[in-house]
Protein backbone atom coordinates (compact mmCIF):
# COMPACT_ATOMS: atom_id res chain seq x y z
CA UNK A 1 0.00 0.00 0.00
CA UNK A 2 1.24 3.47 -0.82
CA UNK A 3 1.65 5.76 2.12
CA UNK A 4 -0.05 9.10 1.67
CA UNK A 5 2.38 12.02 1.60
CA UNK A 6 0.52 13.70 4.47
CA UNK A 7 1.02 10.61 6.54
CA UNK A 8 4.75 10.51 5.98
CA UNK A 9 5.11 14.20 6.91
CA UNK A 10 3.06 13.62 10.06
CA UNK A 11 5.26 10.61 10.90
CA UNK A 12 8.30 12.81 10.47
CA UNK A 13 6.92 15.46 12.85
CA UNK A 14 5.87 12.78 15.32
CA UNK A 15 9.50 11.84 15.78
CA UNK A 16 9.96 15.20 17.51
CA UNK A 17 6.68 15.69 19.33
CA UNK A 18 3.53 13.55 19.48
CA UNK A 19 0.95 15.27 17.32
CA UNK A 20 -2.64 14.12 16.91
CA UNK A 21 -4.23 13.86 13.46
CA UNK A 22 -6.59 16.64 14.56
CA UNK A 23 -3.80 19.00 15.54
CA UNK A 24 -2.09 18.26 12.27
CA UNK A 25 -5.27 18.82 10.25
CA UNK A 26 -6.13 22.04 12.04
CA UNK A 27 -2.76 23.74 12.44
CA UNK A 28 -0.45 22.40 9.78
CA UNK A 29 -2.48 21.03 6.91
CA UNK A 30 -3.96 24.42 5.86
CA UNK A 31 -0.39 25.67 5.35
CA UNK A 32 0.81 22.80 3.21
CA UNK A 33 1.53 23.37 -0.46
CA UNK A 34 2.21 20.34 -2.66
CA UNK A 35 4.84 20.93 -5.31
CA UNK A 36 5.88 18.64 -8.14
CA UNK A 37 9.09 18.92 -10.13
CA UNK A 38 10.57 17.14 -13.14
CA UNK A 39 14.09 15.82 -12.78
CA UNK A 40 16.85 18.42 -12.99
CA UNK A 41 14.47 21.27 -12.14
CA UNK A 42 15.62 24.18 -10.07
CA UNK A 43 13.58 24.60 -6.90
CA UNK A 44 15.45 27.55 -5.45
CA UNK A 45 17.85 29.70 -7.43
CA UNK A 46 21.00 31.35 -6.06
CA UNK A 47 20.22 34.98 -5.27
CA UNK A 48 16.56 34.33 -4.59
CA UNK A 49 15.14 34.51 -1.04
CA UNK A 50 14.04 31.03 0.02
CA UNK A 51 10.28 31.08 0.41
CA UNK A 52 9.74 27.46 1.51
CA UNK A 53 10.73 24.74 3.88
CA UNK A 54 10.40 21.47 1.93
CA UNK A 55 9.78 17.92 3.07
CA UNK A 56 10.54 15.38 0.35
CA UNK A 57 7.59 13.04 -0.26
CA UNK A 58 9.33 11.32 -3.13
CA UNK A 59 12.40 11.87 -5.25
CA UNK A 60 15.93 13.07 -4.79
CA UNK A 61 17.14 16.64 -4.37
CA UNK A 62 20.55 18.25 -4.07
CA UNK A 63 21.84 21.57 -2.77
CA UNK A 64 24.99 23.17 -4.15
CA UNK A 65 26.87 26.39 -4.53
CA UNK A 66 29.07 27.50 -7.39
CA UNK A 67 32.72 28.25 -6.99
CA UNK A 68 34.49 29.31 -10.16
CA UNK A 69 32.07 27.40 -12.41
CA UNK A 70 32.37 24.30 -10.31
CA UNK A 71 29.33 23.03 -8.45
CA UNK A 72 30.02 22.01 -4.88
CA UNK A 73 27.28 19.77 -3.46
CA UNK A 74 26.58 20.26 0.22
CA UNK A 75 23.43 18.17 0.63
CA UNK A 76 21.80 15.25 -1.17
CA UNK A 77 18.43 14.23 0.28
CA UNK A 78 15.65 11.77 -0.50
CA UNK A 79 12.18 10.78 0.75
CA UNK A 80 11.48 11.63 4.36
CA UNK A 81 14.00 14.45 4.70
CA UNK A 82 13.93 18.23 4.81
CA UNK A 83 15.76 20.34 2.26
CA UNK A 84 15.76 24.09 1.65
CA UNK A 85 18.13 27.06 1.68
CA UNK A 86 17.78 27.44 5.43
CA UNK A 87 20.02 30.40 6.04
CA UNK A 88 18.17 32.38 3.39
CA UNK A 89 14.82 31.15 4.69
CA UNK A 90 15.45 32.15 8.29
CA UNK A 91 17.34 35.37 7.67
CA UNK A 92 15.24 36.50 4.66
CA UNK A 93 18.37 37.24 2.62
CA UNK A 94 19.29 35.98 -0.88
CA UNK A 95 20.34 32.35 -1.02
CA UNK A 96 23.97 31.43 -1.68
CA UNK A 97 22.77 28.02 -2.78
CA UNK A 98 20.83 26.45 -5.60
CA UNK A 99 18.42 23.63 -4.87
CA UNK A 100 17.78 21.26 -7.75
CA UNK A 101 16.05 17.92 -8.25
CA UNK A 102 18.05 14.91 -9.42
CA UNK A 103 14.97 12.69 -9.90
CA UNK A 104 11.34 13.74 -10.44
CA UNK A 105 10.32 14.89 -6.97
CA UNK A 106 7.24 15.71 -4.93
CA UNK A 107 7.52 18.09 -2.03
CA UNK A 108 5.36 19.06 0.91
CA UNK A 109 6.19 22.75 1.36
CA UNK A 110 5.30 25.48 3.83
CA UNK A 111 5.98 29.16 3.22
CA UNK A 112 7.87 31.34 5.69
CA UNK A 113 4.83 33.44 6.39
CA UNK A 114 2.61 30.44 7.00
CA UNK A 115 5.20 28.82 9.25
CA UNK A 116 5.28 31.96 11.39
CA UNK A 117 1.52 31.70 11.61
CA UNK A 118 1.81 28.08 12.79
CA UNK A 119 4.36 29.11 15.44
CA UNK A 120 2.08 31.84 16.75
CA UNK A 121 -0.72 29.38 17.47
CA UNK A 122 0.92 27.70 20.48
CA UNK A 123 3.99 27.01 22.58
CA UNK A 124 3.79 23.44 21.37
CA UNK A 125 4.30 24.52 17.77
CA UNK A 126 7.22 26.73 18.84
CA UNK A 127 8.69 23.72 20.54
CA UNK A 128 8.20 21.54 17.50
CA UNK A 129 9.95 24.18 15.41
CA UNK A 130 12.84 24.37 17.83
CA UNK A 131 13.29 20.61 17.85
CA UNK A 132 13.25 20.32 14.05
CA UNK A 133 15.78 23.15 13.73
CA UNK A 134 17.95 21.58 16.45
CA UNK A 135 18.07 18.25 14.70
CA UNK A 136 18.92 19.88 11.36
CA UNK A 137 21.71 21.88 12.95
CA UNK A 138 23.11 18.82 14.69
CA UNK A 139 23.11 16.84 11.45
CA UNK A 140 24.86 19.65 9.65
CA UNK A 141 27.45 20.06 12.37
CA UNK A 142 28.17 16.35 12.44
CA UNK A 143 28.66 16.34 8.69
CA UNK A 144 31.01 19.34 8.92
CA UNK A 145 33.07 17.60 11.59
CA UNK A 146 33.31 14.49 9.45
CA UNK A 147 34.55 16.53 6.52
CA UNK A 148 37.31 17.92 8.75
CA UNK A 149 38.12 14.82 10.82
CA UNK A 150 37.75 11.81 8.57
CA UNK A 151 40.00 10.84 5.69
CA UNK A 152 38.43 10.64 2.20
CA UNK A 153 38.58 6.85 2.45
CA UNK A 154 36.74 6.84 5.78
CA UNK A 155 34.11 9.23 4.44
CA UNK A 156 33.58 7.02 1.43
CA UNK A 157 33.26 3.81 3.44
CA UNK A 158 30.93 5.42 5.97
CA UNK A 159 28.73 6.70 3.23
CA UNK A 160 28.59 3.41 1.31
CA UNK A 161 27.65 1.44 4.38
CA UNK A 162 25.03 3.95 5.55
CA UNK A 163 23.45 4.78 2.18
CA UNK A 164 24.15 1.90 -0.21
CA UNK A 165 21.03 2.74 -2.26
CA UNK A 166 22.29 6.25 -2.99
CA UNK A 167 25.29 4.80 -4.81
CA UNK A 168 22.80 3.68 -7.50
CA UNK A 169 20.59 6.75 -7.48
CA UNK A 170 23.05 9.64 -7.42
CA UNK A 171 25.42 10.49 -10.30
CA UNK A 172 28.97 9.74 -9.23
CA UNK A 173 30.26 13.28 -9.78
CA UNK A 174 27.69 14.66 -7.31
CA UNK A 175 28.61 12.10 -4.69
CA UNK A 176 32.32 12.75 -5.13
CA UNK A 177 31.73 16.47 -4.70
CA UNK A 178 29.46 15.93 -1.68
CA UNK A 179 32.05 13.72 0.00
CA UNK A 180 34.83 16.10 -1.02
CA UNK A 181 36.73 13.34 -2.80
CA UNK A 182 38.45 13.81 -6.16
CA UNK A 183 36.53 12.04 -8.95
CA UNK A 184 39.50 9.76 -9.78
CA UNK A 185 39.92 8.81 -6.12
CA UNK A 186 36.19 8.15 -5.88
CA UNK A 187 36.37 5.71 -8.83
CA UNK A 188 39.30 3.95 -7.23
CA UNK A 189 37.42 3.54 -3.91
CA UNK A 190 34.35 2.28 -5.72
CA UNK A 191 36.40 -0.30 -7.60
CA UNK A 192 38.05 -1.37 -4.36
CA UNK A 193 34.69 -1.96 -2.67
CA UNK A 194 33.45 -3.95 -5.69
CA UNK A 195 36.52 -6.19 -5.65
CA UNK A 196 36.14 -6.69 -1.96
CA UNK A 197 32.45 -7.65 -2.15
CA UNK A 198 33.21 -10.07 -5.01
CA UNK A 199 35.87 -11.79 -2.92
CA UNK A 200 33.47 -12.13 -0.01
CA UNK A 201 30.80 -13.43 -2.36
CA UNK A 202 33.05 -16.17 -3.76
CA UNK A 203 34.31 -17.00 -0.36
CA UNK A 204 30.80 -17.67 0.89
CA UNK A 205 29.73 -19.70 -2.11
Amino acid sequence: MLMSPQKSFLDFLNKFIPLSQDEFNQLILPCIVKRKFEKKSIITQTGEVEEYINFIDSGLVRKYYKKENEEINTQISYEGHIIHAQESFHSRTPSEYTIETIEPSELTSITYECLERIYSTSEKMQRLGRLVITSTMVLKDKWQSQLVKLTPRERFLNFVSNHPELMQRVPQKYLASYLNIKPETFSRFKHMVKEYSRKIFFHHN
Partner: protein
Protein backbone atom coordinates in the same frame (compact mmCIF):
# COMPACT_ATOMS: atom_id res chain seq x y z
CA UNK B 1 31.41 29.01 41.68
CA UNK B 2 28.72 31.52 42.49
CA UNK B 3 25.14 30.63 41.94
CA UNK B 4 23.49 33.67 43.47
CA UNK B 5 22.10 36.22 41.09
CA UNK B 6 20.62 38.41 43.78
CA UNK B 7 22.91 41.17 42.79
CA UNK B 8 23.90 40.63 39.23
CA UNK B 9 26.95 42.39 37.93
CA UNK B 10 25.51 44.97 35.50
CA UNK B 11 28.10 43.95 32.93
CA UNK B 12 26.77 40.39 32.79
CA UNK B 13 23.30 41.73 32.59
CA UNK B 14 24.20 43.98 29.72
CA UNK B 15 25.88 41.23 27.70
CA UNK B 16 22.99 38.88 28.25
CA UNK B 17 20.47 41.53 27.26
CA UNK B 18 22.44 42.48 24.18
CA UNK B 19 22.82 38.87 23.12
CA UNK B 20 19.17 37.99 23.56
CA UNK B 21 18.07 41.33 22.14
CA UNK B 22 19.50 40.19 18.82
CA UNK B 23 16.75 37.58 18.64
CA UNK B 24 13.78 39.15 20.38
CA UNK B 25 13.04 42.11 22.64
CA UNK B 26 13.34 41.16 26.30
CA UNK B 27 12.49 43.29 29.33
CA UNK B 28 14.82 43.52 32.34
CA UNK B 29 12.31 41.54 34.42
CA UNK B 30 12.16 38.75 31.84
CA UNK B 31 15.92 38.65 31.67
CA UNK B 32 16.17 38.56 35.42
CA UNK B 33 13.80 35.59 35.50
CA UNK B 34 15.88 33.81 32.89
CA UNK B 35 19.15 34.45 34.74
CA UNK B 36 17.73 32.66 37.78
CA UNK B 37 18.21 29.43 35.84
CA UNK B 38 21.85 30.22 35.08
CA UNK B 39 25.06 29.95 37.05
CA UNK B 40 28.31 31.90 36.88
CA UNK B 41 31.48 29.96 36.18
CA UNK B 42 35.00 31.33 36.42
CA UNK B 43 38.08 29.81 34.80
CA UNK B 44 41.78 30.59 34.67
CA UNK B 45 43.46 30.98 31.34
CA UNK B 46 44.40 27.81 29.50
CA UNK B 47 41.81 25.65 31.20
CA UNK B 48 40.00 22.98 29.22
CA UNK B 49 36.29 23.46 29.86
CA UNK B 50 35.12 20.53 27.75
CA UNK B 51 37.35 17.60 26.81
CA UNK B 52 36.96 15.48 23.72
CA UNK B 53 34.73 12.53 24.62
CA UNK B 54 33.04 14.30 27.51
CA UNK B 55 29.33 15.23 27.38
CA UNK B 56 28.96 19.02 27.44
CA UNK B 57 26.26 19.98 29.88
CA UNK B 58 26.44 23.77 29.47
CA UNK B 59 25.34 26.52 27.19
CA UNK B 60 27.75 29.41 27.90
CA UNK B 61 27.65 33.13 27.31
CA UNK B 62 31.12 34.68 27.60
CA UNK B 63 30.93 37.81 29.76
CA UNK B 64 34.67 38.16 30.18
CA UNK B 65 37.60 36.47 28.52
CA UNK B 66 38.16 34.31 25.48
CA UNK B 67 37.36 30.68 24.67
CA UNK B 68 38.50 28.66 21.71
CA UNK B 69 36.74 25.65 20.27
CA UNK B 70 38.72 23.17 18.20
CA UNK B 71 38.72 19.74 16.59
CA UNK B 72 41.83 17.55 16.83
CA UNK B 73 42.70 16.05 13.49
CA UNK B 74 45.64 13.69 13.93
CA UNK B 75 48.32 15.90 15.42
CA UNK B 76 46.69 19.09 14.21
CA UNK B 77 44.05 21.29 15.74
CA UNK B 78 41.43 22.99 13.59
CA UNK B 79 39.94 26.00 15.35
CA UNK B 80 36.22 26.37 14.77
CA UNK B 81 35.41 29.32 16.99
CA UNK B 82 37.07 32.09 18.99
CA UNK B 83 34.45 33.44 21.38
CA UNK B 84 34.85 36.73 23.23
CA UNK B 85 32.54 38.83 25.40
CA UNK B 86 28.94 38.65 24.24
CA UNK B 87 29.34 35.39 22.30
CA UNK B 88 27.83 32.03 23.03
CA UNK B 89 30.14 29.02 22.99
CA UNK B 90 29.53 25.33 23.68
CA UNK B 91 29.88 21.90 22.12
CA UNK B 92 26.48 22.10 20.41
CA UNK B 93 26.04 18.54 19.18
CA UNK B 94 27.12 17.11 22.51
CA UNK B 95 24.86 19.45 24.50
CA UNK B 96 21.81 18.97 22.33
CA UNK B 97 22.10 15.20 21.86
CA UNK B 98 23.88 14.30 25.13
CA UNK B 99 26.63 12.45 23.30
CA UNK B 100 30.42 12.67 23.79
CA UNK B 101 31.89 15.87 22.45
CA UNK B 102 34.02 15.79 19.31
CA UNK B 103 35.37 19.25 20.01
CA UNK B 104 37.47 20.70 22.82
CA UNK B 105 36.72 24.01 24.56
CA UNK B 106 39.62 25.82 26.18
CA UNK B 107 40.03 29.28 27.70
CA UNK B 108 42.83 31.45 26.35
CA UNK B 109 42.35 34.20 28.95
CA UNK B 110 40.88 34.18 32.47
CA UNK B 111 37.20 33.79 31.65
CA UNK B 112 33.79 34.28 33.24
CA UNK B 113 30.80 32.47 31.77
CA UNK B 114 27.08 32.71 32.42
CA UNK B 115 26.08 29.09 31.96
CA UNK B 116 22.85 27.15 31.60
CA UNK B 117 22.73 23.36 32.05
CA UNK B 118 20.62 21.25 29.73
CA UNK B 119 18.09 20.45 32.46
CA UNK B 120 17.76 24.08 33.47
CA UNK B 121 17.34 25.06 29.85
CA UNK B 122 14.47 22.59 29.44
CA UNK B 123 12.94 23.95 32.64
CA UNK B 124 13.30 27.56 31.50
CA UNK B 125 11.85 26.82 28.06
CA UNK B 126 8.93 25.16 29.74
CA UNK B 127 8.20 27.62 32.52
CA UNK B 128 9.04 31.05 31.18
CA UNK B 129 6.41 32.74 29.09
CA UNK B 130 7.90 33.17 25.59
CA UNK B 131 10.49 30.51 26.57
CA UNK B 132 9.95 28.30 23.57
CA UNK B 133 9.92 31.24 21.21
CA UNK B 134 13.19 32.54 22.61
CA UNK B 135 14.76 29.08 22.42
CA UNK B 136 13.73 28.66 18.82
CA UNK B 137 14.97 32.12 17.82
CA UNK B 138 18.35 31.70 19.52
CA UNK B 139 18.81 28.36 17.87
CA UNK B 140 17.84 29.75 14.49
CA UNK B 141 20.29 32.61 15.02
CA UNK B 142 23.11 30.20 15.87
CA UNK B 143 22.28 28.22 12.77
CA UNK B 144 22.41 31.28 10.52
CA UNK B 145 25.72 32.40 12.00
CA UNK B 146 27.22 28.97 11.44
CA UNK B 147 26.02 28.89 7.85
CA UNK B 148 27.45 32.33 7.18
CA UNK B 149 30.81 31.24 8.57
CA UNK B 150 30.75 28.22 6.31
CA UNK B 151 30.09 30.36 3.25
CA UNK B 152 32.92 32.63 4.21
CA UNK B 153 35.26 29.70 4.48
CA UNK B 154 34.07 28.21 1.21
CA UNK B 155 33.44 31.17 -1.04
CA UNK B 156 35.88 33.88 0.00
CA UNK B 157 39.53 34.07 -0.91
CA UNK B 158 42.23 33.88 1.75
CA UNK B 159 42.86 37.57 1.40
CA UNK B 160 39.18 38.49 1.76
CA UNK B 161 38.84 36.29 4.83
CA UNK B 162 41.86 37.90 6.46
CA UNK B 163 40.94 41.52 5.79
CA UNK B 164 37.27 41.18 6.61
CA UNK B 165 38.06 39.45 9.88
CA UNK B 166 40.73 41.94 10.94
CA UNK B 167 38.52 44.92 10.05
CA UNK B 168 35.72 43.55 12.22
CA UNK B 169 37.89 42.23 15.04
CA UNK B 170 41.02 44.40 15.16
CA UNK B 171 41.64 43.62 18.87
CA UNK B 172 41.95 39.90 18.16
CA UNK B 173 45.43 40.33 16.69
CA UNK B 174 46.55 41.34 20.18
CA UNK B 175 44.48 38.84 22.10
CA UNK B 176 44.95 35.62 20.17
CA UNK B 177 48.17 33.80 19.27
CA UNK B 178 48.73 34.17 15.56
CA UNK B 179 48.74 30.44 14.87
CA UNK B 180 45.22 30.16 16.27
CA UNK B 181 43.91 32.99 14.15
CA UNK B 182 45.55 31.44 11.10
CA UNK B 183 43.93 28.09 11.86
CA UNK B 184 40.54 29.69 12.47
CA UNK B 185 40.68 31.58 9.18
CA UNK B 186 42.17 28.55 7.40
CA UNK B 187 45.19 30.48 6.25
CA UNK B 188 48.71 29.04 6.18
CA UNK B 189 50.88 30.58 8.94
CA UNK B 190 53.38 32.05 6.46
CA UNK B 191 50.58 33.60 4.40
CA UNK B 192 49.06 34.98 7.57
CA UNK B 193 52.33 36.73 8.50
CA UNK B 194 52.57 38.20 5.04
CA UNK B 195 48.99 39.52 5.14
CA UNK B 196 49.54 40.93 8.61
CA UNK B 197 52.60 42.85 7.42
CA UNK B 198 50.55 44.13 4.51
CA UNK B 199 47.81 45.22 6.88
CA UNK B 200 50.25 47.02 9.21
CA UNK B 201 51.77 48.82 6.22
CA UNK B 202 48.35 49.86 4.96
CA UNK B 203 47.49 51.43 8.26
CA UNK B 204 50.54 53.65 8.43
Amino acid sequence: MNNAFTDIDPVYFEYAQKYIGRFMPITSEELFDLLQYCEIRRFDKRVVIVHEGEVDNYLNLVVKGLVRKYLSVGKNEVILQLATEGHVVQSEISYLTKTPSMVVLETLEPTILVSLTHNKMEEALDKLPKGERLGRLILTGMFIKKDENRYNRLLKTTRQRFFEYIEHHPHMLQRVPQKYLASYLQIKPETFSRLKALYAKGRK
